[in-house]
Structure formats: structure tokens, C-alpha cells
């Protein structure tokens, strides 16, 4: 129990959330008819949150995949309809891929773009609520005052925003490794002009 609950959540945010789409993708390719991918993903988060020595995990993406694999195996055992196909496919989950590429570790630019891109799809009030609360760090009351609404509204906007982001990040989002190759680096100079570098 060396990590606090908040640190574990932070770990999930940093190391699992960005890979959810990839894990999901791999699970879908298993073609296990009785398997509900959403169930596995939700359970994966719970298992990782409760894992005893998270801080020693060196390859989080692989770890997430292994965790998902464990859940699938349990599912197959319980359902007692272990098809040979499913077992063979399971090995596919094990395929290793390099995890320490510079691109993936630098990440921050991609992270900003990804979060900005996701937030852009939210209704304005919803988006502002999330930004004021989480990025500016205002309290619920301060946020309510700033937006001229009740605290209750702030709470429901938060809930709505999170639910939407779950979809955006998890369901559709591509893993960073796939999505960053066509990004253009954008920088600005003193006079505010934008330059592009490929």
C-alpha cells in the first residue's frame, strides 16, 4: 500500500487512459462471442486500481493488456465454453511492442492536443465547467459564481462532461502512437505570427 488512492488514480490517468482505445481494439479482435468488451475495460480499471505494487510497473501499456487478458481468461473459465479459437487468439494479446519510444514518452504535446480536441466537442458550459474546476482549480462554489449558475448545475455539468469524455477518450480515441504522425508542430513568435515546422 505505498500509493495513495489519489496517486493510483493519477497513475491510471497517465498510464492507462491513453491506452484504453488500444486495449479495446485488441479485445475486439479476439472475437470471443460471449465477451463484452466494455465489461472487461471497466473491470480492468478496477483491477489496476487495486493492484498491490503499481509503482513497480515499468510497462504500463503491456500491464493493462495483461490485466485485460486475465479478465478474459476468467470469463472463459466461468462460461465453460472455451473455444479453441479464443485460446489461440489470446496469444495475440501477448504480442509485445516497444513502449519506450520517444514519441510516446514525450507525450505532453499530444496530451494537450488530445484533451483540447476532446473538450472542443463538449457543449460550451460543460467545457468551461471542467476547465474552471480542474485546470484553473476553482472550487465548485467559485465556478458557479463565475458562470452565474447554481452549484447543482456545476455538479451536473461536471458529470455530463466526464461521461462524454469517457466516450471520447475510450471508445473512439486512437492511441497516441497512431495519431501523432500527422500533427504539425505549431509555434508562435513574439509578434504572434504562427510558423509551422513539419
Amino acid at each position: 500500500m505505498s500509493l495513495s488512492n489519489h496517486e493510483r488514480t493519477e497513475w491510471l490517468a497517465r498510464n492507462v487512459l491513453p491506452h484504453e482505445a488500444l486495449v479495446r481494439d485488441r479485445l475486439k479482435r479476439l472475437y470471443v462471442a460471449t465477451l463484452d468488451v466494455d465489461d472487461v475495460i471497466q473491470e480492468m480499471y478496477a483491477r489496476i486500481l487495486a493492484a498491490p505494487s503499481l509503482e513497480s510497473v515499468r510497462y504500463p501499456r503491456q500491464y493493462a493488456i495483461q490485466t485485460a487478458r486475465g479478465i478474459v481468461i476468467d470469463h472463459l473459465r466461468r462460461s465453460r465454453v472455451v473455444s479453441i479459437d479464443a485460446c489461440e487468439n489470446l496469444e495475440e494479446l501477448d504480442i509485445e511492442f516497444p513502449e519506450t519510444s520517444a514519441e510516446e514518452r514525450l507525450g505532453f504535446r499530444g496530451e494537450i492536443q488530445e484533451v483540447a480536441g476532446a473538450l472542443a466537442q463538449l457543449p460550451r458550459t460543460c467545457r468551461e465547467t471542467l476547465i474552471l474546476r480542474r485546470v484553473e482549480g476553482l472550487s465548485q462554489r467559485e465556478t458557479a459564481q463565475r458562470l452565474g449558475v447554481t452549484e447543482k448545475v456545476i455538479e451536473s455539468q461536471m458529470a455530463r462532461g466526464v461521461a462524454m469524455l469517457v466516450k471520447v477518450f475510450g471508445r473512439g480515441g486512437k492511441s497516441r502512437a497512431h495519431s501523432s504522425n500527422n500533427q504539425v508542430e505549431r509555434v508562435t513568435s513574439e509578434d504572434g505570427s504562427v510558423k509551422r515546422r513539419d
Partner: protein, 345 residues
């Protein structure tokens, strides 16, 4: 079945919002715990919802304004879908399609070059046993988190060193050099004192940063709560109390100065937690000095251009990457040498 998962995700988001709001009544918190324990998927969905909130929080170092500006560049944001039902997935394509016309006012610039050592370093959190004195340090470009025996969390920035000396009555830490953030576990009976040279910073339960850099005054930035700053060596200098969003500057024989400091500025100054250096209209000379704290590759700036300013978020351990971006933005050139990179006209 998918319907059911959506339902779980929605409920999880509602709980996450409630918990974040901090207004959970006793009966609500019982209902929440019962819900979470009822199904492992509930626990997982809740963990993910919280992780999303944390992910947003991680952008504090970038600042809300810069984030908003980036958001504005997405066509989706411009149309303001107040009734948007199904959000579209994030993809590389959408970021490539960013609106070039909308320039970034408060610029957000990111070095795209190297991997970020400091973040990797932060991934490991060490638990240390109770003991009388212990020393922790980081090398150039490293950052490290240490969980102390009382539950307090110390994050060491680059090239920093602390000595922890806990007793039953007091939690004493000496900052020998560098910079560290202290998230102090509450314990009124056992004050938490950080000493930097002759300055003592006392806290009960709070979060603050102490900086002790060569030839600079001792600087304390308070993120949460209140700390008391005392000059042990000079009783004539009046101790001060510094509260959240203020900084205390302690130098020579001058009185201790407390200044308020805007939240985004605090966040920017703590960007190193994520292995970043955040600059806002800093001169190249200042930027070079900041980078020198993290790497033994020096940035040498041609005096003729040392006053030019730059804004952006950069990988702290990649001075060469920074120099290249800065040069390209400011129409300058970079010359690379061994352990040195020059920014010249």
C-alpha cells in the same frame, strides 16, 4: 449489454462529480460505497471517471487560457454544439485539421523533440521506513518523489538534495540545495519544518515549494494552506505568514517579502513536476539559465539577441530541442557543439 455499460459510466460520472464537489453527505457516501462495491465494473468505471478528472488537472501547468486557445482551433468548438449528442472520437485527423486562421493569442508552444526524463523519474514513488536521518537527492535533469514515514510527499526537482530528520515531536527537513515541493500530512502535534540556510518554513498541513538556488534569495511558494517563515539567524527580521497563492522571498538582511501570485503562475512554476519548463515572455537569457538547472548541455545565447522573449512549454531535459524551436520562432540560428548549443543571429 452495451446499454448497461453506458448506464454504469453515467452513474460513475455522477458520483465522480459529486465526490469532486466535496459535498457528499453521510447517507450519500454510504450509497456511493454500496454502489461501488456492488459490481467490479462500477468500481472500474468510477476509477476511470476520476482518472479523466485527473487528466484534466494535469494540464494545470499549461494554464487554462492556453488550453482554451488550443480548443478554439478545433472547428467543433467554433460551432458550439450546445446540443451535441454524440461526441466524435479524437483522432490525428482532427488535430491536423486545426483552424490555421485562429492564431494563438497566448501562445502555447511545445518542444517536440526528446523524451522526458523527469516524468519517467517521477513514475517511481519510494516508500521509506521510519528512521532518524535520511538523505535524498537528484542529479541534473532528474526529478523524484519520496513518500515520508508520516505520509507527507516530497517531490524533488533537478539537482536537489534534502536531509530528513524526523523526531517524535517535530518533522524536520533540511533543503541543502535545489527545489522541492512538500505536501504535508496534517499533524498539529508534530510541526513540519523545512530549513533552507537560515530560513525556517513551518507548516502543519499544507503544500508549498521551497527553492534554494545559488546566488538567489530563498523562495517559498505556497500552493495550499498557510506557512510561517522565520529567520533563525536574524531575530530582528520579523517572521511572516504566507498563505496560499503567495510567495515569500528571503534575502540577506532585508525584511521577508510576501507577494501574491496568480494561480496560473504557480502552476507554470511547477511545470517541472511533469518534466517541463513553462516560459511566458521570458528572455532567452533567462530561459538559458532555467535550462541550465536541468542539463549539463549549456545554452549560450548571443548577447545581441539575449533580450528576445519566448513563450511555451518545453521538455526540461532537452536544451537542444528548446534552442532549435526558439531559433526557428525568432528567426535565429543554432550552432551545436560538445555540451553546448549556441543561439546566434
Amino acid at each position: 449489454m452495451g446499454q448497461l455499460n453506458d448506464e454504469i459510466d453515467r452513474t460513475a460520472a455522477e458520483w465522480a462529480a459529486k465526490v469532486a464537489g466535496g459535498s457528499l453527505s453521510l447517507s450519500e457516501s454510504e450509497r456511493f460505497e454500496a454502489w461501488r462495491a456492488a459490481d467490479i465494473r462500477h468500481a472500474g468505471a468510477f476509477a476511470r471517471a476520476q482518472a479523466i478528472l485527473v487528466r484534466l488537472e494535469r494540464l494545470r501547468a499549461v494554464g487554462a487560457d492556453a488550453l482554451r486557445t488550443t480548443i478554439e482551433e478545433y472547428p467543433a468548438a467554433a460551432t458550439d454544439p450546445e446540443d451535441c449528442a454524440e461526441p466524435q472520437p479524437v483522432s490525428g485527423a482532427s488535430s491536423a485539421a486545426m483552424h490555421p486562421r485562429l492564431l494563438m493569442r497566448r501562445r502555447l508552444m511545445v518542444s517536440g523533440a526528446a523524451a522526458c526524463l523527469a516524468v519517467a523519474g517521477l513514475a517511481g514513488v519510494f516508500l521509506l521506513p521510519v528512521s532518524s536521518q535520511q538523505e535524498f537527492s537528484t542529479g541534473l535533469g532528474e526529478a523524484r518523489q519520496v513518500r515520508l514515514s508520516d505520509g507527507s510527499l516530497v517531490t524533488l526537482n533537478t539537482n536537489s538534495k534534502i536531509v530528513v530528520a524526523y523526531t517524535d515531536s517535530v518533522r524536520k527537513i533540511r533543503l541543502i540545495q535545489g527545489e522541492a515541493i512538500f505536501k504535508v500530512a496534517k499533524n498539529k502535534q508534530r510541526p513540519f519544518i523545512v530549513s533552507a540556510h537560515d530560513t525556517d518554513v513551518r507548516a502543519v498541513g499544507t503544500s508549498f515549494t521551497v527553492q534554494l538556488l545559488p546566488e538567489k534569495p530563498v523562495r517559498i511558494v505556497v500552493q495550499e494552506g498557510v506557512v510561517e517563515v522565520v529567520r533563525r539567524d536574524a531575530p530582528a527580521i520579523v517572521p511572516v505568514r504566507a498563505k496560499a497563492q503567495t510567495q515569500a522571498i528571503v534575502s540577506g538582511s532585508a525584511p521577508i517579502v510576501v507577494q501574491s501570485i496568480a494561480r496560473p503562475v504557480v502552476a507554470r512554476q511547477l511545470a517541472w513536476q511533469y518534466g517541463r519548463i513553462a516560459l511566458e515572455n521570458e528572455t532567452l537569457a533567462d530561459a538559458a539559465e532555467e535550462f541550465s538547472r536541468y542539463s549539463d548541455t549549456r545554452i549560450v545565447v548571443d548577447p545581441a539577441v539575449a533580450g528576445r522573449t519566448i513563450t511555451g512549454l518545453f521538455a526540461a531535459d532537452d536544451p537542444v530541442g528548446f534552442a532549435k524551436v526558439a531559433a526557428s520562432v525568432l528567426d535565429l540560428r543554432v550552432e551545436e557543439g560538445p555540451k553546448e548549443v549556441r543561439i546566434v543571429r
